[in-house]
């Protein structure tokens, strides 16, 4: 049932996030990225959301300029994965407030934090959006409390200015 990896790739082929739950070496990782970008970015509109690839299946969905891809075993439940993708997108949306690609570029680490609250070991950990957002917020306040730095407002300004 497990997800082998999660990829976020922009329409231009820029990688926005990679998370590997199965063991891939550095070389294999770049090969996967190269091959799959080629396969997925060239698919036309109105096709199904599944691609068979090297004996595995990639479930993907495009949101604006970003492709969210998750790779599973051939006997996995494709629609379930498709909705895990959507679940992730909804949480991102709730966290950032109508999320866009730029949010994920400048706050890519946030995208990782949030993903870690949704998936572990390639399996769904939490399906309640509220719970996920709450625990990410709790982490944020821990970091805030540590008062390590003061640059947050500046980063914020840049992030929003670039939108």
């Amino acid at each position: 049932m497990m997800i082998h990896f999660v990829l976020l790739i922009s329409r231009q082929g820029k990688v926005r996030l990679t998370k590997w739950y199965s063991t891939y070496s550095k070389k294999e990782r770049s090969k996967v990225l190269r091959e799959l970008s080629g396969v997925i970015l060239t698919r036309g509109p109105r096709l199904c959301n599944f691609v068979e690839w090297r004996g595995l299946k990639v479930v993907y969905k495009r949101y604006a300029s970003l492709y969210f891809c998750m790779c599973i075993d051939p006997d996995g439940n494709e629609l379930e994965i498709l909705e895990i993708i959507h679940h992730y997108v909804e949480v991102l949306d709730r966290y950032f407030g109508s999320v866009c690609e730029l949010d994920l570029i400048y706050n890519f680490h946030k995208a990782y934090y949030i993903l870690d609250e949704i998936l572990i070991s390639g399996e769904l950990q939490e399906s309640s959006k509220r719970t996920v957002v709450r625990s990410v917020a709790a982490q944020d306040s821990l970091v805030e409390a540590a008062k390590e730095e003061t640059g947050s407002t500046i980063s914020n300004i840049i992030a929003h200015a670039a939108k």
Binding site: C48, G55, E78, G97, N107, F108, S121, S127, T131
Partner: protein, 928 residues
């Protein structure tokens, strides 16, 4: 919302984004990497904040696809930072940059363990997440007990426990021994009572992994899964936040049904009924709605329910509901649902009876073969391949051929291989098969391996009536302007051998054929030229009356290649040239190739063993799973009371000698016979011929298995034991002469005699059926299995098997199906009990219908006396005292066998052993 960022990081990302081209980007990255490397070198001056920032930059650079071969240590070392912000970054960046095989990871094990067993909940979460994502074997061994404790702890919050469940799942995948089955099963069942749906979802994933390895330990979880599913499906007591577009956690529903699919069956009637009610509700209550996410979620549940229903092999009614649903799905426009409909229909083929219903959708499936989406085309191809049989092979293969011309490059190889396999497996007639393969070569020659054209040559060579047809066909193809080299090869071979059969047709004179072939020579590679040279030689030989002009033309070619650098070409040229000078001798040497021995198609073999292609595998697997469903079940257990009470057999073992040995005289002078005796050791019942058995039990070859090699072995045995008449004389049930027009392959009597000495082999064979036998004997019990193999591409019908047992044998033949499907093998167990010693032989009255032929044969079964013998070893010194203590017939019997061809002692011993007679060596008989 707290959007704390890092200024340096944001600036760096902006810089990268502002780069005009790849080169600028690389320069900026290199500059940054140099900077980070320098800062890490002087680590002392680095604040925790800076360290964090640089580690994030490294991850960003890594993500963009650049090599980051330093700084891993710094990332790992952040894990042991005392404060949360650094620790968090350390854990996340480490789990992104490294995989489980990195040595640096080991350095962190202790810190990770301290975080897991420590009291800080947030640290526990970070550690569990990283171990859950990249933990390896070493982590599994050192951390599993601690992780289990957290999962079961009542003082831990759900936040920690759900992470512990999935972390444990990862550790279990890395090393299954970390979960102690005995202790864990009950706890797992308790976990399924969990109220928090986050913990329950994670625990269900864990259960799926556990039961996929060993379902037996987790029976107690089964009713709980059903209960969970029922609760979800009825939407009872589900917190609002755990419904997704109004559907109670579709993910948990899917996982629960997945777990249930690992249990072979559900025995408890109440649980079963509850589950079926839920499944029924899902099957019937899932409607198509406008909202795409709601639709996807409900159909995720529906498809999982379909899989579970198929797995449980539900009642017919429910199954036909499933097929009906799938039939609806493959016709919708929505591509996801159509894709899944096709995929699940292929899975449905595993279920008995579905094939006929699925066939009704053939036209719809073929439409999907032309879909713009390659994912859907692949599914359609797989399904067509899986559903193909003799009845629809022609249509399906022709569709595949048609599609081949327009198919994308990536699918052509698979497509042509599948078409070739189907054509061979299900060809209604051989000329069609030749047509298909030639079309394949023509349209996709690059993907046609040598196996495929070798196979065509075999068929053409072995079927005389096919030869002129094939020759005319390949000539047509050769006349096309552009011809694939494989086509040249197969054409050259066939025209060389058989073009003379066309000689009277217009345009087919030897000269013209030669002209067509020779035109291709400049275009082919060195591997094809030798085939062309052979063809020239053969054409020349067949030219009657000789044509001087053609001869000098061909001789000139041989001459030319006599100095060719390629050894094979050179040798052929030299030899053919020399042979041509010999005139009549040429006729013998270049005579038509003999028929090939029948062999299993390497293509089909390859397809069966191919693991490279999963699409392939799935279809092949389907086929394999379809076959047993047609056959009756055979159990391998010995008869229950097999070892007990060998009552009447005791005294027999010493005394009874079957008359087979006694009667017939052997001519010991026959050299052929003594030569054959060399093979005697092969009939030792301890070592049944592996080949024969393999052939018998394996899938059938297209025209039946090789008979020649086995035959000689039979001869050796039957002649030795006295020829076919020996037993006939004593048989009560007369074996009738065969009046059938269908002729058996091999000698029935010889096969019977061979089987009297061994426990497995072929009992009967004709062009349509092969009947094999495999027997186990234990005291007075015998357990035989008849293997009825249909060798054809059409079913055998009106199959009847009637046992005619003699009075002393009690025989029970299990049900023999009325129809044997094409190429299927049916196994029919036969129980035999010997009531008293007798030399009478049991007969199997077997009949079937093939087309208009009604075939009826009466076959003696090798349940002969010696099979029930139990040899008792007796030391030489005890033999005579024991012998004398017996009073006379029937306890004691002596027969002297005369006129036996001299035979070495070990061979004789071997022969007697195979009759289950004990040899007592070293005695000098006082009776002779």
């Amino acid at each position: 919302m707290a959007m704390h960022g890092m200024r340096g990081l944001s600036v760096f990302i902006s810089d990268i984004r502002n780069c005009q081209n790849k080169e600028q980007e690389r320069q900026r990255i290199d500059k940054e990497l140099g900077n980070v490397r320098n800062r890490f070198k002087n680590e002392k001056g680095l604040s925790p904040y800076e360290k964090k920032k640089y580690v994030w930059k490294m991850l960003y650079i890594y993500m963009l696809g650049y090599d980051v071969d330093f700084g891993h240590m710094e990332a790992v070392s952040l894990i042991s930072a005392p404060k949360y912000p650094e620790k968090q970054v350390g854990y996340i960046v480490t789990s992104c940059l490294l995989n489980e095989n990195h040595d640096f990871l080991r350095l962190a094990i202790n810190t990770v363990r301290n975080d897991i067993i420590g009291r800080n909940e947030t640290f526990q979460c970070l550690a569990l997440t990283m171990v859950g994502n990249i933990g390896g074997r070493e982590f599994a061994e050192s951390l599993a007990p601690d992780v289990q404790k957290l999962l079961l702890s009542s003082s831990c919050r759900p936040l920690v426990r759900k992470k512990a469940a999935l972390c444990l799942l990862r550790l279990y995948r890395k090393n299954p021994d970390v979960v102690n089955v005995d202790g864990w099963a009950d706890r797992m069942a308790q976990l399924l009572d969990e109220r928090d749906l986050g913990v329950l979802t994670s625990s269900m994933s864990l259960l799926v992994a556990l039961v996929s390895n060993n379902h037996e330990a987790y029976w107690s979880c089964l009713p709980k899964c059903v209960k969970t599913l029922e609760r979800l499906a009825r939407n009872q007591d589900i917190p609002q936040e755990y419904t997704y577009y109004g559907i109670p956690s579709p993910w948990l529903q899917v996982k629960t049904m997945r777990a249930l699919q690992y249990f072979p069956t559900i025995e408890d009637p109440y649980t079963r009924r509850t589950l079926f009610e839920v499944l029924q509700r899902i099957l019937m209550g899932t409607d198509v709605v406008k909202n795409v996410n709601k639709n996807n979620a409900s159909h995720a549940v529906l498809f999982e329910a379909l899989a579970l229903v198929m797995h449980l092999d539900a009642e017919k009614e429910m199954m036909s509901q499933c097929v009906a649903l799938l039939g609806k799905f493959i016709a919708v426009r929505e591509p996801n649902i159509r894709y899944l409909g096709l995929e699940n229909m292929t899975r449905m083929l595993m279920v008995t009876d579905a094939q006929e219903i699925i066939k009704r959708h053939q036209a719809q499936i073929i439409t999907s073969l032309k879909d713009p989406d390659i994912s859907i085309r692949r599914r359609a191809l797989d399904l067509l391949y899986g559903m193909c049989d003799v009845t629809n092979a022609k249509d399906i293969v022709e569709e595949l051929l048609q599609y081949l011309s327009s198919a994308d490059f990536t699918m052509r190889e698979e497509l042509s291989l599948k078409a070739a396999i189907l054509a061979e497996k299900f060809a209604p007639d051989l000329s069609w098969y030749v047509d298909v393969i030639l079309q394949l070569i023509d349209k996709a020659g690059d993907f046609i391996s040598d196996d495929i054209w070798f196979r065509v040559v075999q068929f053409v060579t072995n079927n005389d009536d096919l030869q002129p047809y094939a020759a005319a066909k390949v000539k047509e193809y050769l006349e096309k302007p552009a011809v694939h080299e494989t086509m040249v090869k197969v054409s050259a071979y066939i025209l060389g051998e058989y073009s003379h059969l066309l000689a009277r047709r217009p345009g087919c004179s030897p000269k013209e054929i030669f002209g067509i072939l020779h035109e291709k020579l400049p275009t082919v590679s060195t591997t094809t030229i030798p085939i062309l040279l052979s063809a020239y030689a053969k054409i020349l030989m067949h030219t009657q009356p000789p044509d001087q002009e053609l001869q000098s033309q061909i001789w000139a070619i041989f001459n030319k290649y006599e100095s060719c650098i390629d050894a094979e070409i050179q040798q052929r040229a030299v030899e053919y040239f020399a042979l041509c000078q010999k005139g009549a001798a040429l006729m013998d040497i270049l005579a038509e190739m003999p028929k090939f021995p029948e062999r299993k198609s390497s293509l089909i073999k390859r397809a069966e063993y191919s693991e490279a292609d999963t699409a392939e595998q799935s279809a092949i697997k389907l086929r394999a799973q379809q076959q047993p469903s047609n056959a009756l079940v055979v159990t391998d257990q010995p008869p229950a009371n097999g070892a007990t009470s060998p009552v009447p057999v005791g005294p027999l073992s010493l005394a009874m000698v079957p008359s087979m040995i006694t009667t017939e005289d052997h001519t010991s002078t026959d050299p052929a016979l003594s030569q054959q005796n060399g093979s005697l050791t092969k009939v030792d019942p301890q070592h049944p011929s592996a080949d024969l058995l393999g052939d018998l039990l394996g899938p059938l070859a297209i025209e039946g298995p090789p008979g020649a090699t086995v035959q000689s072995e039979y001869n050796a045995v039957s002649r030795l034991e006295g020829g076919p008449d020996a037993v006939d004389g004593s048989a009560i049930v007369p074996v009738e002469e065969q009046r059938n027009t269908v002729q058996p392959i091999g000698n029935i009597a010889e096969r019977f005699h061979a089987l009297c000495l061994k426990d497995s082999g072929v009992l009967y064979e004709d062009p349509y059926i092969q009947i094999g036998i495999k027997a186990e004997w234990r005291a007075h019990h015998g357990r035989l299995v008849l293997f009825l193999g249909n060798k054809n591409t059409a079913p055998l019908v009106s199959v009847q098997a009637l046992m005619l047992p003699p009075a002393h044998l009690k025989m029970e033949l299990s049900l023999v199906p009325d129809t044997i499907p094409p190429r299927a093998q049916v196994q029919c167990p036969l129980e035999v009990v010997n009531l008293r010693p007798s030399r009478d032989v049991a007969v199997l009255d077997f009949s079937y219908k093939f087309g208009t032929n009604m075939v009826n044969v009466k076959l003696r079964l090798p349940a002969v006396l010696n099979k029930f013998l139990q040899p008792i070893p007796v030391p030489a010194e005890e033999f005579f005292p024991q012998w004398r203590s017996l009073s006379g017939p029937p306890l004691k019997l002596q027969e002297v066998v005369r006129g036996v061809r001299p035979m070495p002692l070990p061979e004789m011993a071997n022969l007697l052993n195979s009759f289950r007679l004990m040899i007592c060596p070293g005695l000098v008989s006082p009776f002779i």
